[in-house]
């Protein structure tokens, strides 16, 4: 029951606007603090015995990489919410998440290839993980392109949702590509004690910080979108007044 009412409340845009207005400042400042702290810690760490200073890229690369996948997950969930439950905020969330996710994916790609130069001697390698992340980036592009290319918005959002759900197969591929194909890229091990605590602590801090940043951006994006839609709705009302005014004369 309790949850029921909560979801209902959250479904109400006005409530969301008020709530987010309160939360947003806190969220963003926390994000800033954590990121700064994490990165300063990170840059204080001793050079890695194999990778030297370049290891510091990790503190950006890994969080970005994680978030790139999490963002897509969020989009998929929102799309599901839109198609199945017709949740009014679901689409707003999906739309707002796409560009942010794309940016994080891009960051993962760029930092990754910057890291690749010293470690593998090349910026780019067509190995399974990089390729699959690249595909993820393309999917983000596709989502945005499709949405932007259809005039009627309600239609655009539903179609984008269909695409998002069809494309979800990519996530497992990314996650496990390193295990399926043998590649240059490290397998996931950070959280399984595969990493020296000296590196782990700052990594976790920046990871949490970036996640908060993501949510802050996402919330901001949703707010803008909602405002834009209210303006649009007001415009459309005009059409009706026109139709009715005209109908009266007819």
């Amino acid at each position: 029951m309790q949850t029921q009412t909560i979801t209902q409340k959250l479904a109400n845009p006005t409530f969301f606007m008020n709530l987010s207005a309160k939360i947003l400042p806190w969220l963003s400042s926390f994000a800033a603090i954590l990121i700064i702290y994490g990165l300063t810690l990170g840059f204080a760490t001793p050079p890695d015995y194999q990778q030297g200073q370049t290891v510091k890229i990790m503190f950006i690369h890994v969080p970005a990489a994680w978030l790139s996948m999490m963002a897509y997950g969020l989009i998929a969930v929102s799309s599901f919410g839109l198609l199945v439950f017709r949740h009014p905020l679901a689409d707003v969330s999906a739309k707002a998440a796409a560009p942010i996710g794309a940016v994080f994916t891009l960051i993962a790609l760029v930092t990754g290839s910057l890291w690749g130069k010293p470690t593998w001697g090349t910026y780019w390698q067509w190995d399974a993980r990089m390729t699959s992340v690249l595909i993820l980036f393309f999917l983000y592009l596709g989502l945005m392109a499709l949405r932007s290319s259809i005039e009627e918005e309600s239609l655009a959002s539903k179609l984008t949702a269909v695409l998002a759900l069809t494309g979800i197969v990519i996530l497992p591929v990314i996650k496990f590509s390193v295990n399926w194909w043998n590649t240059l890229h490290q397998p996931a091990g950070v959280l399984k004690g595969g990493l020296d605590p000296v590196f782990l602590k700052p990594l976790l801090f920046s990871a949490v910080g970036f996640s908060l940043l993501f949510f802050a951006l996402h919330m901001k994006g949703m707010r803008n979108e909602i405002i834009r839609r209210r303006v649009k709705a007001r415009q459309l009302k005009e059409v009706d007044r026109a139709a009715r005014a005209h109908g009266v004369e007819a």
Binding site: A233, K237, D240, A242, A243, G247
Partner: protein, 209 residues
């Protein structure tokens, strides 16, 4: 047989085009949808044909067979004619008659005849005039038996003779126990037709997030 619409609500974007509309059309009846431009005639017809999903309300077809849907039992004639410009009149029609589930070249021939297109049967649709195309589109009504006819401005670009022809067709269909619903700005010359005048309801766009 009876087509029943109960407190139907149609929304476009965030706006209500039609709000709690309720009516019924029994077999042997014709219904004219009228109303100013933008009143919602086309939208309503698409909803009846099952192409446009209502925000709420029900659309039933009673007394034909259990769970008969309007969609499977209607002819929908929209703004476009559903013709392939590279196919001849005959080819276009016979495809539809096959697809809509009735075979019989004879039917196609007679349909063309009744729409006075017999002389164009071997001519690709691309070479036809606006009205000829429209007539060919309407000929679809004759190649497959379907009890419910949904017509959106069927007389567009028809000359008087053809318009009268169409009126007779609809009358015959209705007389033989069919249902016809037509959106139009001009009288179709139907014998027993009720009129449903759509006026834009008071609308609130609050539904938008």
């Amino acid at each position: 047989m009876k087509l029943v619409v109960e407190n139907l609500r149609l929304e476009r974007g965030a706006r209500a085009i039609v709000a709690d509309l309720t009516f019924a059309v029994a077999s042997g009846e014709a219904l004219l949808l009228t109303g100013a431009n933008g009143a919602g005639k086309s939208t309503l017809l698409r909803a009846l044909a099952g192409l446009f999903t209502p925000a709420s309300g029900t659309i039933r077809l009673d007394g034909l067979y259990s769970e008969a849907t309007v969609t499977e039992n209607c002819h929908f004639i929209g703004h476009h004619n559903g013709l392939k410009s590279s196919l001849t009149a005959t080819e276009n029609l016979s495809f539809w008659s096959n697809y809509l589930g009735t075979t019989g070249a004879s039917r196609v021939a007679t349909a063309l005849d009744r729409m006075q297109l017999a002389s164009l049967e071997a001519i690709p649709a691309a070479y036809m005039s606006a009205g000829q195309k429209r007539r060919l589109g309407l000929a679809r009504l004759l190649v497959a038996e379907r009890p419910v006819w949904l017509l959106d401005e069927p007389t567009v670009s028809l000359d008087q003779a053809s318009a009268r022809l169409l009126g007779d067709l609809v009358n015959a269909h209705v007389a033989s126990g069919g249902i016809a619903i037509a959106a139009t700005h001009l009288p179709l010359g139907l014998t027993n037709a009720r009129e449903l005048r759509l006026t834009a309801p008071l609308r609130t766009s609050e539904a938008a997030p």
